[in-house]
């Protein structure tokens, strides 16, 4: 079991989509939301993904195809 903390940023047109629910069903990962700020035109959610490393990687890759921005919790690391 591995754990990976991510931050998902939603553009306006994706705010109404149940994206987190979907990846929990499509992949063997447990999603655990810790912090969020979702408004009318923008939103972000910070959550933990728990599961096998390969399932987590697939879930992250899938999130990216769903039109949201996925980053590690640290956000931009390359300085």
């Amino acid at each position: 079991m591995a754990s990976f903390k991510i931050r998902i940023s939603f553009p306006e047109e994706k705010i109404k989509e149940p994206i987190i629910y979907k990846i929990g069903h499509e992949f063997k990962v447990v999603t655990n939301i810790r912090r969020a700020d979702v408004r009318e035109k923008t939103g972000w959610v910070e959550l933990e993904l728990n599961g096998d490393p390969s399932e987590i990687e697939k879930a992250v890759a899938s999130l990216k195809t769903k039109g949201v921005k996925v980053e590690p919790i640290e956000r931009n690391i390359i300085e």
Partner: protein, 422 residues
């Protein structure tokens, strides 16, 4: 200076632990950077009562001529073991540049000459790696394309630690030479910037390495406070009226603000009546645009600027930098690539300091803020120039004059240069 005498009398138990900046939950002072509960960033929690009993201007002034003179306010428990000469860079009274910009008391904090790798990163890395050794790490790492990688690689060589530097796979060879020379393992990741970002977070979670800007970040970031400490001491123990700071992750600006306020809280300076203004490149200005649009949140951007050392599109401390600017009644302003190049040239022409692109952004923004009257001419102003221009020569190579070519004769010399006086 011997290693033992670097700081003669280290305070015991000055660090209480780590504390979440959002929910306040406390943690022991280990290699941890995110709150397990709310995922907020962790910060070092100091025992200020203990520090206050010992610290004084005199104690600091009798310390080494490096950032370690402020060791009482830095997150290490023993004497420094690496980076002993970092910091205490010149604070230059910039009379010529001040005259051009109409500012009477302008100073440049010149970190282009920081030791050993010529950028302010030597401050944060000296502290991060000293702390990493205290925590028992034998390997250090970072994700960086420039200044941070140079500094981590150099300090790891000095500390004889294994070192891993992660970079995007398509980076030009010239950019990584400044790291490779210190013989770290440079890992070029086949993928884009986001892939490297994600991978490094995963690696940091799996391996017992000290990633200076990930799991060691609470300690690393504190090093930036020394820019405030030095400025105050060099001004005769007072805070300036206005500072201009480049903004990348937002950590530097946040910590400079914290540093001045810490000095005031401990009675080392009388007051902090200071505005903190931030400088961003127009092609990567997530914090400045939030400020201008009156937003309280940062909208991530895709960077497109020559100022690569501050091109962070989703800055981890952007929110806190924005807050510090508001608290201090400062401003955030941007510079285009052209203005950045002009800024580099202006600083070089007037003060003889060759800054990298981030310095060009800072000087260009300083100029704008002065022109707009946001900085008034009577204010004592400090602009932070954080990296050396020799590292980003490509930015100005086509923006400088040609050499004057002559034959090896006095006649040719005088005719070509059209000299009249002798």
């Amino acid at each position: 200076m011997s290693r033992k005498s670097a700081v003669s009398d280290i305070l015991k138990q000055k660090i209480k632990g780590l504390k979440c900046r959002e929910c306040g939950k406390l943690y022991p002072p280990v290699a941890l950077h995110v709150c397990e509960f709310c995922f907020g960033p962790l910060e070092v929690d100091y025992n200020y009562d203990e520090i206050r009993r010992h610290i004084s201007r005199e104690r600091i002034e009798n310390g080494p001529k490096s950032l370690w003179r402020y060791a009482d306010l830095l997150p290490v428990e023993g004497p420094p073991t690496v980076g002993l000469y970092a910091g205490f860079t010149p604070l230059i009274e910039a009379r010529n540049l001040g005259a051009e910009l109409g500012l009477k008391k302008l100073y440049i904090k010149n970190d282009t000459v920081n030791h050993p790798t010529l950028s302010f990163k030597d401050r944060v890395v000296a502290i991060a790696i000293t702390r990493a050794r205290e925590l028992g790490f034998t390997a250090v790492a970072c994700a960086s394309t420039g200044n941070l990688a140079n500094s981590v690689a150099a300090h790891a060589a000095e500390a004889r630690l294994r070192c891993y530097v992660f970079i995007p796979g398509d980076l030009e060879a010239g950019k990584i030479l400044g790291s490779l020379i210190y013989a770290p393992t440079v890992v070029a990741v086949e993928g884009n910037y986001d892939d490297v970002n994600r991978l490094c977070s995963e690696v940091a979670g799996e391996y017992h390495w000290a990633f200076v800007n990930i799991n060691i970040r609470p300690y690393y970031a504190e090093g930036s406070k020394t820019l405030a400490f030095e400025t105050a001491e060099q001004l005769g123990w007072k805070a300036p009226d206005h500072v201009v700071v480049p903004v990348a992750s937002g950590s530097l600006l946040t910590k400079i603000w914290k540093g001045f306020n810490e000095l005031k809280m401990l009675g080392l300076i009388d007051r902090v009546d200071m505005k903190v203004s931030g400088a961003q490149a127009e092609g990567c200005a997530p914090v400045a645009s939030a400020f201008k649009e009156g937003r309280d949140f940062i909208r991530p951007v895709k960077p497109k600027t020559i100022a690569k050392s501050i091109a962070i599109g989703n800055p981890a401390d952007g929110y806190y930098a924005l807050k510090a600017v508001h608290e201090s009644k400062g401003a955030l302003e941007t510079a285009t690539d052209e203005e950045t190049v002009e800024g580099i040239k202006l600083l070089a022409r007037t003060e003889g300091i060759f800054a990298e692109t981030a310095g060009g952004v800072t000087i260009a923004v300083l100029k704008k803020l002065a022109q707009k009257g946001i900085i008034s001419k009577e204010e004592t102003v400090v602009a932070y120039v954080t990296g050396n221009g020799l590292k980003t020569q490509e930015a100005v190579i086509n923006a400088v004059d040609e050499v004057v070519r002559i034959d090896p004769s006095l006649d040719s010399f005088e005719k070509t240069l059209k000299l009249k006086e002798k």
